[in-house]
């Protein structure tokens, strides 16, 4: 195998697979990237058996062939090479020679025979989604995904399509058991069997999907096969194994009778929370939110440092209510919203709080209080 390629192109391609290769090194070949040269392009493939990515990049191929090599090492090498054309040559016994300008690297790879099979996507059954819409929806829910691996069914974003008033709605929900974020948009794709019953995209796969959605301007195609989701965009294919588990009944935990509702200036509220969070305890990040006549008071205290409080003038004339919340949870929500005002609906210090955008549409977040 012999090909030459622009440094920028090669580096970009190798950069994209860095998040996918297996870092724990339990199966050595999984920390390698598969490089295949064929006519006018090279194909880079990486997988950890849960999430896999395969993408083609233009190259000047002299002889076809394939080899695998440590994804991390080759990325480090290419990154430091001068901005010139790079020549990549595979030799006997899986040795690879990389040369660029006056630098020459000889590194050892592994045979491509051992690399796991990457499934061919069946493009005929796929449906498109607008990439900026998808990127936005992921951003609005991703922060709530659980990082606790014992709660495996919460380690991803739940995709579900529903029909409301004859419209086809795509809904994304994520929760970690303490908070929940949900966003939905109307999509013009036909009903899809898997989406109708609901599927959980794994956290790692979502990360890759988000990157693709942010980089790309064209639609992203989705499809399902076996227990995996297939995502295709501009010559890049991502295959991810869906989380095998039931997503909890999220509709039950969305509060329906939180009758104390206040409008809050989003930006002011966000910055006040960030200030107050500085003095909340390191681990709990708890702040107290109190609704008083005409005021919302946020306060925090840390026995080892001191205390702080800040008032926001609001339109409220009900009873005094005082609730503890994790400031981090509130900040996460306010950061993904963009309207000028938001609505906060609460009931008491034991019941979940509900945050929605001003128009109340397409997004909601539920946060359980904490005891301070």
């Amino acid at each position: 195998m012999l090909f030459s390629i622009e440094k920028e192109v090669f580096l970009k391609g190798l950069g994209r697979v860095q998040g996918i290769v297996e870092k724990r090194n339990t199966i050595p070949i999984l920390s390698n990237v598969l490089i295949e040269a064929d006519q006018e392009s090279i194909m880079l493939t990486a997988t950890d058996l849960e999430v896999g990515m395969r993408a083609a990049y233009p190259a000047n191929v002299k002889t076809n062939g394939k080899i695998t090599v440590s994804a991390k090492k080759i990325y480090e090498i290419i990154k430091e090479l001068p901005e010139k054309e790079i020549t990549f040559k595979s030799k006997e016994n899986c040795w690879i020679e990389i040369s660029c300008g006056k630098s020459v690297f000889n590194i050892v790879g592994l045979s491509s025979d051992e690399f796991p099979h990457f499934p061919e996507a069946d493009v005929s059954k796929m449906f498109p989604l607008n990439s900026s819409l998808l990127g936005d929806m992921i951003e609005k829910t991703y922060f709530s995904v659980s990082t606790d691996e014992t709660k495996y069914n919460l380690n991803g974003i739940y995709f579900k399509s529903v029909e409301e008033e004859g419209k086809n709605i795509l809904r994304l929900v994520a929760t970690d058991g303490h908070r929940l974020a949900m966003t939905q948009r109307e999509v013009d794709t036909a009903q899809n069997e898997e989406l109708t019953s609901g599927v959980i995209f794994p956290r790692k796969g979502i990360m890759e999907l988000k990157k693709i959605a942010e980089e790309s301007e064209s639609d992203i195609s989705f499809g399902f096969m076996d227990n995996s989701a297939v995502v295709v965009n501009d010559g890049t294919v991502v295959v991810m194994r869906l989380v095998d588990g039931d997503f909890p009944d999220y509709t039950r935990v969305i509060p329906k009778n939180n009758e104390t509702i206040v409008d809050l200036p989003r930006d002011q509220f966000l910055h006040a929370l960030k200030r107050m969070a500085i003095l909340s305890s390191e681990k709990s990040k708890g702040v107290k939110i109190e609704l008083k006549n005409g005021l919302l008071e946020i306060s925090s205290s840390n026995p080892e440092i001191g205390d702080a409080h800040e008032d926001l003038e609001i339109n409220y004339n009900g009873d005094n209510i005082s609730i503890g919340f994790n400031a981090r949870y509130m900040i996460d929500i306010l950061q993904v919203l963009d309207g000028e005002t938001i609505k906060l609906a609460v009931k008491d210090d034991l019941s979940p709080g509900l945050i929605t955008p001003d128009d109340g549409k397409d997004f909601l977040a539920v946060v359980m209080p904490m005891r301070l």
């Binding site: 209080p369 904490m370 005891r371």
Partner: protein, 408 residues
């Protein structure tokens, strides 16, 4: 370097002395303190009983063989912890540097107190008099330049002793002292040292350091120092801020058990004890340890670290059960222990989903009831048949702070 002045105070036959004080009819008589379990042993006995050769750790049968008239008293740990707390309070009048070593032993660093109170001997006399007056208990006091020697000194005269090892008498005192008298050199180490021809502290101190180091590793160096009466360890005051590193309970079962359901029942009980204590201290942990001792006194412990932190009894129990699967359970079991470690402070975040939430609420309600009416007033149905936990004072017991446990 200035010499430190360390005082070690050891209550004489502590449990027995407390019992003799609370019940005058027991005074002057041979008594033995025993546990409440069916297979208990002598935990302490009075000096009157010791005269007959009764010793701590003997079975009741052995004790009665030697001293048929021995009066057996079931220990009341609450009495002992309360007395110990009071005694340590007296110590604190003389120095803030009080290290509670166990329920009946404490170290005091008096280096800074001598100017105020005159001499260490004077402080020792005052302490002894006050403890005698207030609690009617005698104690043995040792005063020396470090903890190792202070403890050695207090052991030298019992009961009601006061022994001083001044800095210039250290070498003379240690020269012919058998190594086994040193705190930290047990039977096994003593045997090992004997094979090297070391019998006394003097011999230990003179023995080539390198050889000891090679033989015993890092402890070899420490032992060489011990032989020469060097001990740099500070008196560490026990305070509220003491970070608790683990929460654990173990119990010797009333009789050996083999059935898995019996084992599980005790494990649930222990899990609840551990969970409840962790909740009381507001800590959660994610490392679970199961200890099993079989009827041949073979003890094994297995730990497992989970991914999420908990202090809920049912979750601890579940984690412990998965560890139990790894034990062959081919022999009758004598002792079971459950421990939670890898602790961090609990975040009081309520959970969103009703199932989790309900379990938290139930736990909270159970704790409320048990706080008011005593442990196990409300508990899991399946522990109903088991007997109450071992009433043992853990070595980690402290008169106050997070380690304080009201043992009953």
């Amino acid at each position: 370097m200035n010499h430190r002045t360390i005082l070690h105070c050891d209550m004489n036959a502590f449990f027995a002395a407390v019992e003799q004080q609370s019940n005058p009819s027991l005074r002057g008589r041979p008594i033995g303190i025993i546990g409440s379990g069916a297979r208990t042993i002598i935990t302490t006995c009075s000096y009157e009983a010791r005269a007959f050769g009764v010793k701590t750790g003997m079975t009741i049968y052995e004790a009665k063989q030697r001293c048929p008239q021995i009066e057996l008293v079931v220990g009341n740990n609450r009495k002992y912890t309360a007395t110990s707390t009071g005694i340590n309070q007296i110590f604190r009048d003389y120095t803030p540097l009080v290290e509670v070593f166990s329920i009946d032993e404490s170290f005091l660093d008096l280096s800074g107190s001598l100017k105020i109170f005159g001499s260490a001997t004077r402080i020792a006399m005052q302490i002894k008099a006050r403890i005698k007056h207030r609690f009617g208990i005698t104690c043995s006091v040792g005063i020396a330049p470090n903890k190792l020697l202070a403890k050695l000194a207090s052991e030298m005269k019992k009961p009601d002793g006061l022994t001083i090892i001044p800095p210039d008498k250290v070498d003379a005192t240690l020269e012919d002292m058998p190594v086994g008298e040193l705190c930290g050199i047990g039977k096994r180490t003593k045997q090992h040292l004997l094979t090297l021809g070391i019998r006394t502290c003097g011999e230990l101190g003179r023995f080539p350091r390198q050889v000891l180091k090679k033989r015993f590793g890092i402890n070899g160096e420490k032992m060489s120092n011990m032989g020469r009466g060097i001990d740099l360890s500070p008196v560490v005051p026990t305070s509220e801020k003491d970070e608790v590193k683990s929460v654990g309970h173990s119990m010797t079962l009333p009789h050996d058990i083999t059935a898995r359901e019996d084992i599980c029942r005790y494990l649930l009980r222990l899990s609840e004890m551990v969970g409840r204590r962790a909740r009381r201290y507001g800590v959660t942990g994610r490392t679970f340890t199961l200890t099993v001792r079989d009827n041949d006194f073979e003890t094994r412990s297995v730990s497992e670290t989970g991914l999420s932190y908990t202090n809920r009894s049912d979750e601890i129990y579940r984690a412990i059960l998965t560890i139990l699967e790894r034990f062959p359970l081919d022999k009758p079991i004598r002792l079971l222990g459950v421990r939670l470690s890898g602790l961090r402070h609990q975040v009081r975040q309520y959970t969103l989903f009703p199932d989790d939430h309900r379990k938290e609420m139930v736990t909270e309600a159970m704790d409320d009831v048990n706080d008011r009416y005593g442990n196990f007033s409300v508990s899991f149905g399946s522990v109903l048949d088991s007997e109450r936990g071992a009433r043992v004072i853990s070595p980690a017991w402290r008169p106050d702070g997070i380690r304080y446990v009201n043992v009953e």
